[in-house]
Point group: C2
Chain length 221, copies 2
DNA sequence: TCTCATAACTGAATGATTTTCAAGATAGAG
DNA sequence: CTCTATCTTGAAAATCATTCAGTTATGAGA
């Protein structure tokens, strides 16, 4: 193989296969949920043999995790594109958690993902963490939040968000609790009830439309 | 069959079977986790045929849910026994969430249960909810908390507790974060940072030892 | 006490899936 | 052009949850 930057046919095929598997995995998992998705169907849609999946992912769970992490990264990037003009870091954080809640409950493709809570919560924690934790730190420096452990606060928030989203999709709670959920999470980050409520009720810009997903960003596992 | 209060042999055997299944289910699930537990092993330990389980529980998941809900109810009762002398309802709540965190991370039998977060979080929510929500309401009336939706706050807390417990058992966080977790959950319930920290640091009585579990309290599903 | 209908129990068979692996391609270095 | 290392294939193995036809036990009525 060309030891210079040039990519051989094998490497090209591998990249194609990995991307096709992530795309197919996303489709099938979004339609049926992680548990009901079968490796056979994913393989067929990616146009590879079922055994080939295991050259790319150690198990079904790892494939699912890779898919969810990509989805999260893409949402994080869309949020970042809107919020990088906000002056108040607390507002960036509030916009982020609200957007995750609204996407998780509103986008049909997300609903199925919630049923394996620890997987989706972990993906949110890991992939949106760098942004979210930075925002919490900035907001704490600015005196808006007061939490000594932004990592812990963010981890708790991820699970709480998934829990509320799950309840909304199961119609155990109305979608209108999203407002109060944001308020409570701001309180958890150390903001006063009054400030939280004011911040949560500010007008918000809308999220830009979803770009065509780029499946090649997946990390090897 | 005796139509008076007297119980026939059939009813007696059914009660024995149900209890044996719950006990066996608890053992096996605690040792291996919900997913790795097999119906065969549970049936063997309960000394019934595998098919018999389905006379008592519609599916493996329902059996697991019944087991977890019983475990939660028993813990709730032990907490209640200690806290019913507390004067401050906020302190009752704080003691409850701390106890769940410590039990979930300290008791080896709990560690396996955390891996199906939505199941355990739901069991906590359902079975400890009556107590917890009452405490939050009392604390709000007493001016210690301020949350307009105790149900939502409790639901968020359950998922956050499971998330933190999971991270501790995976050694992603030290057990010492339990203190700060309690503080953050009190903030979420609407208490100020200062008050939360004071409340979380108060000395606590110890939980009474675990009584022999009573497997007959299970509800039919 | 005997008989019979009903309900519960049994465990082998079913069916659905993930994962493995031996055999067959394929690329690209020499 | 050849050879080897690597990837792909798809059939077979392995694992379970769940079903169900056949067996057994119970207790009401005669």
């Amino acid at each position: 193989m060309d030891s210079a930057g040039n990519e051989g046919r094998v490497a090209r095929r591998q990249r194609r296969n990995r991307e096709a598997l992530l795309k197919a995995g996303h489709e099938v998992i979004s339609e049926k949920g992680i548990d009901a998705a079968t490796m056979m169907e994913i393989a067929e849609r990616a146009d590879v043999a079922s055994g080939t999946i295991y050259n790319y992912f150690k198990s079904k769970d790892e494939l699912a995790i890779a898919v969810l992490e990509l989805v999260m990264e893409q949402l994080a990037r869309r949020i970042e594109d809107v919020t990088n003009t906000f002056a108040d870091p607390a507002q960036v954080y509030a916009f982020g958690i609200r957007t995750v809640l609204e996407t998780a409950t509103g986008d049909m493709r997300w609903r199925q993902l919630l049923h394996r809570s620890e997987v989706i919560a972990d993906a949110i924690f890991q992939r949106m963490g760098p942004f979210a934790i930075r925002d919490v730190q900035n907001a704490t420096s600015a005196g808006r939040f007061s939490t000594p452990d932004p990592d812990l606060t963010w981890r708790m928030s991820c699970f709480a968000i998934v829990g509320v989203s799950l309840a909304i999709t199961k119609d155990e709670l109305p979608a209108s609790v999203i407002d109060e959920t944001v308020v409570r999470l701001l309180c958890m980050a150390g903001m006063s009830e009054t400030d939280s409520r004011e911040l949560a009720s500010r007008p918000r810009p809308s999220l830009p439309p979803e770009a065509a997903p780029n499946w090649s960003k997946a990390k090897a596992r």
